[in-house]
């Protein structure tokens, strides 16, 4: 399998390892910049956060200990409407993006106070430009009448939103194919060999040369990175998600724990478990998720649940992304993050500029893996 389809010395300008939301967002942006792109993706047994996530384009509270991350998150949220409409033009798919604000509901006063303090600090770090409100229980119910009588209150931000992550995934893949991107899937990349002026990507039965290689393989980055002089200390963190039957719209704003999709199902979640590579579900954790959701929205008590799943987050030790080019093998990059939905629009835009050596709107130095001990 060796196709030389243009003037480049390589089979493809850029090889992206990993066809999840991160890899596909980068691939989409690279195609827009006129590059030839080949995405390599493992078989269906792979661990795939992109197929199991919650769909939030979430800003409030993100990056409370890292102002560069807070800025990147806000930039991506601002870029989302443009990306959503481009994807719609390319594919006809409406990814159900809504950015009308979001609520973070707190069940006790202590956690409400903690969030209020955190957001105040973040507003200060952002030079004041960080809109949010702290709502009493009464004020929260004025915004969202379905909220229950025992909540302590909520924090509100007009910057938050959500989308349908599976439609996003489909739109990215369709647009990629339509714009001439090439997908090689079903097998893991086994070996990436640096060449004097590029890389050989090897998998069972195939070898392709690329000018640049981007590791966007989620949890797979951990083992792919070191031979390229890169470091990606990512660990799995399981989240379980519950889905209700379809209901007429009654939730107007997404929250960190509950959102209603464009199709009417209600998605409940936000558990965090350190259980290794186990994508299963447990009655205990699902029970906690359901109980908390019912305290938030008592009307959910009599609603039927249709399905549940567990999926593994791709977590760095501090939760922030790793964006790094290899010193030893320039042209090799690692791009990995937890919030791949939220950051999707930044990945398709400024991150692609960075991969192509252009000026970016934002400083990415804070995201070097040098911040972690080897």
């Amino acid at each position: 399998m060796s196709v030389r389809n243009h003037a480049s010395r390589h089979d493809t300008d850029v090889a992206i390892i990993g066809g999840g939301l991160v890899g596909m967002s980068l691939a989409y942006g690279l195609l827009h910049q006129g590059k030839t792109v080949t995405v390599f993706d493992e078989g269906d047994q792979a661990l795939r956060a992109s197929r199991g996530n919650f769909g939030l384009v979430w800003v409030q509270g993100k990056g409370d200990t890292c102002p560069d991350y807070a800025r990147l998150t806000r930039l991506s949220a601002r870029l989302w409407p443009g990306l959503a409409s481009e994807l719609r033009q390319d594919t006809g798919i409406d990814i159900e993006l809504q950015q009308n604000g979001g609520l973070y509901v707190c069940l006790d006063q202590a956690s409400l106070q903690q969030r209020a303090d955190m957001l105040a600090r973040m507003q200060q770090d952002a030079g004041g430009d960080y809109p949010y409100e702290v709502l009493t229980a009464e004020q929260a119910r004025q915004k969202e009448p379905a909220l229950g009588p025992t909540i302590a209150g909520a924090t509100w931000s007009p910057m938050d939103g959500h989308l349908n992550p599976l439609l996003l995934f489909r739109a990215l893949h369709q647009a990629f194919a339509r714009r001439g991107g090439r997908l090689i899937n079903g097998q893991p990349v086994e070996h990436i060999r640096p060449l004097p002026d590029g890389f050989d990507i090897r998998l069972p039965g195939a070898c392709l040369s690329a000018g640049k290689v981007v590791l966007a393989a989620g949890l797979g980055n951990k083992t792919l990175a070191p031979p390229l002089g890169l470091h990606a200390p990512v660990e799995p963190n399981r989240g379980q998600v519950l889905i209700t039957e379809r209901l007429k719209p009654f939730i107007h704003y997404p929250t960190g724990h509950v959102r209603q999709t464009g199709e009417g199902t209600v998605q409940l979640g936000d558990s965090k478990e350190d259980v290794g590579l186990d994508t299963g579900t447990t009655a205990e954790e699902l029970g906690k998720i359901a109980a908390r959701a019912i305290r938030m929205y008592p009307v959910l008590e009599k609603v039927r649940l249709i399905r549940a799943w567990g999926a593994l987050r791709v977590m760095t030790p501090d939760g922030y992304p790793i964006y790094q080019q290899s010193d030893r093998y320039p042209g090799a990059y690692v791009v990995t993050c937890h919030s791949g939905v939220t950051l999707g629009a930044a990945h398709a835009g400024p991150l692609v500029d960075w991969l192509l050596g252009k000026d970016t709107e934002i400083s990415l130095e804070a995201f070097s893996a040098d911040r972690f001990p080897l």
């Binding site: 379809r246 209901l247 007429k248 464009g262 199709e263 009417g264 009307v299 009599k302 249709i306």
Partner: protein, 110 residues
């Protein structure tokens, strides 16, 4: 409501019958029928419209996996008709769109 249905029943040992209501009309169903089977026998199709596109649907898999057979049974919406057996006096309604949760005070769990 009596049968003007494209579905024909196979001859089997004669079963007892129960009377149910479909959209307010009486219908004689066979004991042991699922609600979905009764709807097909009654010609009461389409049996729902979808919440997203409002397109018409009817029972399809008859074994609980496709969710095409959602109907209202005794006042409760989004019931999978193929997973529930008819019973005497049961009130079945065809369902348009999604289940509504918020009648009246939303703080009262329905």
């Amino acid at each position: 409501m009596q049968t003007d249905s494209p579905f024909n029943r196979l001859e089997t040992a004669s079963a007892a019958t129960v009377t149910i209501e479909i959209d307010g009309q009486p219908f004689t169903a066979r004991e042991g029928d699922s609600v979905a089977a009764a709807l097909l026998a009654a010609g009461a199709i389409p049996s729902r419209t979808t919440p997203v596109s409002a397109s018409p649907r009817a029972p399809y898999c008859m074994m609980g996996v496709c969710f095409e057979c959602l109907v209202e049974v005794d006042g409760l919406a989004n019931v999978q008709g193929c997973m529930v057996q008819v019973s005497e006096g049961m009130r079945v309604r065809r369902q348009n769109g999604a289940r509504a949760l918020t009648q009246g005070d939303v703080h009262e769990a329905v």
